[in-house]
Symmetry: D3
Subunit: 192 residues, 6 copies
C-alpha cells in the first residue's frame, strides 16, 4: 500500500505499516486480523505515535472497562454525540459497532439522527440526555442532571462513564473533522 493510495484516509501523511513503531504496527495488525480491515482511525493517528498510544489507551479505558453500561449503550453515546458534532468518521464507524453490539440493524441510523425518537428505553434516553448536555453545554451541568440519572438507576460511576465517553469522543470528533478522516467502506454495511 503506497502513500498515494492512502491519501484519502486522512489529509495528513499516513505512514506505511513497515515504518510504524513495533507496538503500533502490532495493534494495527491485530485489529486487521480480527476485523478483516484496518479502520482508518488507526492509520490516521499512526502519524503521531505518542498520540496514537494515548488515544487508544484512553479509548479502551472508557469502552472496554467493566461497568453497568452495556457495550451497546456506550456506542449509543458515541453515535448520538458524534451525530450532533457532524463527525462523519465517528457516526459511520461507531454506527457499525453499535449495530453489532446491539444486534439491531436499525438503531444506529436512528440514534445518529435524533435519539429522542429512537427505539431505545427511557433509561437510555436519559443517559443520552446527559451525554448530550456534556457534549454541548458542559458548563451548565449541575446536580439536577445527576439526579435525573439517579432516577433511572444510574450510579455515580455510571455518570462518570457517560461523561467520559461523551467528552473523549468530542475530542475524537474534532480530530476526525480536522484530518478529514475517511470512514472505511466496510463500516457502512456492517451489522445491517
Amino acid at each position: 500500500m503506497t502513500q498515494a493510495q492512502q491519501a484519502a484516509v486522512s489529509r495528513f501523511p499516513v505512514p506505511d505499516l513497515q515504518d510504524m513503531p513495533e507496538d503500533i504496527r502490532a495493534r494495527i495488525v491485530a485489529v486487521q486480523e480480527k476485523s478483516g480491515f484496518i479502520p482508518n482511525v488507526f492509520l490516521t493517528l499512526a502519524h503521531r505515535p505518542d498520540e496514537f498510544r494515548a488515544f487508544f489507551a484512553y479509548h479502551d479505558a472508557l469502552m472496554e472497562k467493566p461497568g453497568n453500561l452495556t457495550k451497546a449503550e456506550r456506542e449509543m453515546i458515541v453515535v448520538a454525540t458524534s451525530g450532533v458534532n457532524q463527525c462523519q468518521y465517528c457516526v459511520i464507524a461507531h454506527g457499525a459497532i453499535l449495530r453489532i453490539r446491539a444486534k439491531n440493524p436499525l438503531i444506529a441510523d436512528q440514534v445518529a439522527t435524533n435519539y429522542r425518537k429512537a427505539d431505545i428505553t427511557e433509561r437510555q434516553k436519559a443517559m443520552l440526555d446527559f451525554a448530550m448536555k456534556v457534549s454541548q453545554t458542559a458548563h451548565l451541568v449541575g446536580e439536577a442532571d445527576f439526579e435525573a440519572l439517579q432516577a433511572h438507576g444510574f450510579s455515580e460511576d455510571d455518570a462518570w462513564d457517560i461523561a467520559g465517553i461523551s467528552a473523549f469522543f468530542g475530542m475524537s470528533n474534532r480530530i476526525a473533522n480536522v484530518t478529514n478522516m475517511r470512514p472505511n467502506a466496510e463500516f457502512y454495511s456492517l451489522g445491517r
Copy 2:
C-alpha cells in the same frame, strides 16, 4: 391492520386504507405496488387528506420536475438539510432514495452527517452550501449567495429549485418530528 398496530407509524391516528378517500388510497396502492411497502409518510399524512394532497403535489412539483439538478442531487439536498434538522424519517427514507438515485451505497451516510466531507463534487458542495443557508439562516441569503451558485454554473432556476427543496423539506422535517413519523424498516438497507 388495526389502529393499535399502526401506533408506531405516527403519534397521531392513522386511518385504515379502506377508509381513505379514493384518490389517496389509489396513490398509496400505486406506491405500494412499485416499492413493495407503504412509506409511512403516506400513512401519517392520510390523517389529513387535504394536506396529504397538497404535500405530495408540492413534493412532485419540486422533485419530479424537469431541470438541471439530477434526481440524486435533489435527494442530496433533502438528506443534508434533514440531517441538520435532526429528522429521523427524512434522513433514513431519503437516504435510501439517494443511494438508489446516485447508485452509490456510501453517499447517503456521508451527506447526512457532514456533506463537506462527502464524496461529491465541488459544484455539489456549493449547491449544498446554498441549501443549508436557506435551511438555517434564510434571512441572510443575498446576492453573494446567488453569485456563488452561478460560479459553479447553476442557473437562476436551479437556485430556485435548490431553495424550494430545502424549504419544503424543512417543513417536512418539522412535521415528521412532531408526529414521531417512523421510518419504515425497509429504508435502512435499500440501495446498500
Copy 3:
C-alpha cells in the same frame, strides 16, 4: 403591467397575468377583486405554476379548514414564527390579516416582536410556545409539549394544526427571503 414594473415584486421573473395558466390567473383575479390588489406572493409564485397550485392548496388546507383555532389565532402563529424567521413579507402581509381577523389594530406588531408580551390569553401564549418550538427546535418536541397544550384545552387535532401552520410558514418564510418577495404597500396600513 410590464415585467420591468414588477421587478421589485421578486428577484425572480414575474409573468404577466395574460401569460399565466387559466386557473392561476383566475385565482389571482378573484383575490384582486376581493382585496383590491394582488398580494405579491401570488405573483412571485406564479413563476412556478405547479408550486403555486400546491402552495395555495396547502395554505387553504391549514388556514381555511374548520377547527378549534380561530382564524385570528392561526394568523398569530404565522406572525410570531415569521417574526423570528425575519421574513418581511410574511410579517407585514399576515400582520395585516391578523389585525383584520382579530379586529385589533395593535396585536400584529406585538405578536411579531415578542408574543410573550402581547395582549393575548395565556392559552394563546401556550399555543405560540408550541408553534415556536416547532419552528425553531422541532427535533426537541416531545410529549411534555403536547401535555402543555392539553392543559390549556387544546385537542390532538389542534396540536397538529398549530404544528402544520408553523411548519408551512417556515417554508414560506424561506421562500420569501430567498426571492426577496416584497410586501405590497397596501398591507402596512390594513386593519389599523
Copy 4:
C-alpha cells in the same frame, strides 16, 4: 391617573406625576405637550429618578447630537437592533419615530423585520450590518468592520455613533423586556 390604571405601563410601580421630582415631571410634561401623550418609557423609568436622568441624558447625547448620521438613520439602528432583541416597546415606539423622521410610512416595519430587504441604501445597510454586529457579537468586532464602514464614507466618529446607539438601545431593550414596558397605543399608527 391612579396607580392601578397605570399597572399595564410596567410590571414595576409607576409613580403619580405629582409625586415625581420636579425636573422629571417637567421633562415629562414637556414631552406630553409636544407629543400629545406620555411615552411609557418616561413613566416606567420615573420609578428610578437617578436612572431616569442618566438614561435620557445618554439618549440625548447619542440621538440629538450633531453628526453625519441623519435622525432617521439613528432610528433605523434602534429599530433594527431592537427587532432582533425582540423588544416590543422599542420596535413600536421607535418604529413610529423612524416613520416620522424618514417621512416614509413603510420603512419601520421593513427594518424591524429584516433590514437586508428594506428600501434603504447600500450605505445604510452597511451601517446596520455594523450596528447588528455590535449588538449581537461585539467581541468579534475588528478593524475589517471599521474598514467596511469607511468604504461607504462613514468617519471614525460615525462608527462610534453607530456603536453607541446600538449598545445603548441594547440596554434599553433589556430594561423594557424585564419591566414589561408597554408601548403606548398612539405609537402604532403615528407616521403611517
Copy 5:
C-alpha cells in the same frame, strides 16, 4: 502625555487631560488621587463628554445607590455577564473591584469563567442566573424568573437592580469591545 502614547488606551482619540471640560477633568483627577491611576474607561469616554457624563451618572445610580445588594454582589453581576460577553476591560477592571469589595482574592476569576462553580451562595447563584438571562435572552424573562428571585428573598427592587446592572454593563461591554478599551495594568493584581 501625548496622544501617541495614549494610543493603546482606545482605538479612538483620547484627549489630553488639560483639554477636557472642567467637570470631566475634575472627576478623573479625583479618581486618580483615590486609585493611584486613571482607569482607561475614563480616558476612552472623555472623547465624548456628554456620553461620559451620562455613562458615569448611570453607573453611579446603579452601583452606588443604597439597596439590598452588597457592593460585592453588584460587582459579581458585572464580572459574570462581562465574561460571557467576552469583554476584556470589564472582566479585568471589575474583577479587581470584586476582589476588593468581597475581600476575596479568588472570587473574580471563578465568577468570570463560570459562576455556577464559584464559591458563592445559592442565593448569589440565583441572582446571577437572573442577571445572565437578562444579559443573554431578556426577551424570555417572565414571572417565573421573578419568582425564582423571590424564593431567595430578593425584593422587586432587587430584581430591578440586578436587571439594571446586567443591562448597563451589557452596553459597557459592547462599547469596550468596539473601542478596544485596554485594561490598565494595575487592575490585574489589585486585591489578589
Copy 6:
C-alpha cells in the same frame, strides 16, 4: 487527608495518596515536589487510574513534544478555548502556566476573556482563530483554514498540534465541568 476534606477537589471520590497505584502516586509526588502542591486534576483523575494514565500521556504528547509552537503558545490555546468553554479549572490552572511560560503577568487574563484584544502577535491570533474554530465548529474546518495558518508560516504539523491541543482540552474542559474540579488556590497568583 480524609475524604471529607477532599470533597471540594471534585464531586467524585478522591483516593488517598497511599491507596493509589504506585505509578500514579509517583507522578503525583513528583509534581508535588516540583510545584509545591498537587494540582487537583491529578487528584480528581486518580479516581480512575487507567483514565489518569491515558490523560496525562496524551497531555504530554501534545504539550511536551518538540515542535514549532512555543510552550507559551500551547498554553494560549488551552486558555482561549477553555475560556469559551467556561471551564474554571482549566482557565485558572493553565492561566498560571501561561503567565509563567510567557513571562508575562497580564497575558492569561487577556487571552481567557477575548484573545482578539490580547497583547499577542497577528500570527498568534491566527493560531487561536484556528484553535477556536476546531473547538466550536470543527465540522466547518476546511482547506481555507489551513491556508490561513500557512500564510502565517505554520506548517502542516503545527496545524495538527493546534487542533490536537484544542480538541484534547475540549475533552478536559468537559470533564472538569462535570466533576466540579476545583482550581487550587495556588494557581490564582502564580506568575503575576
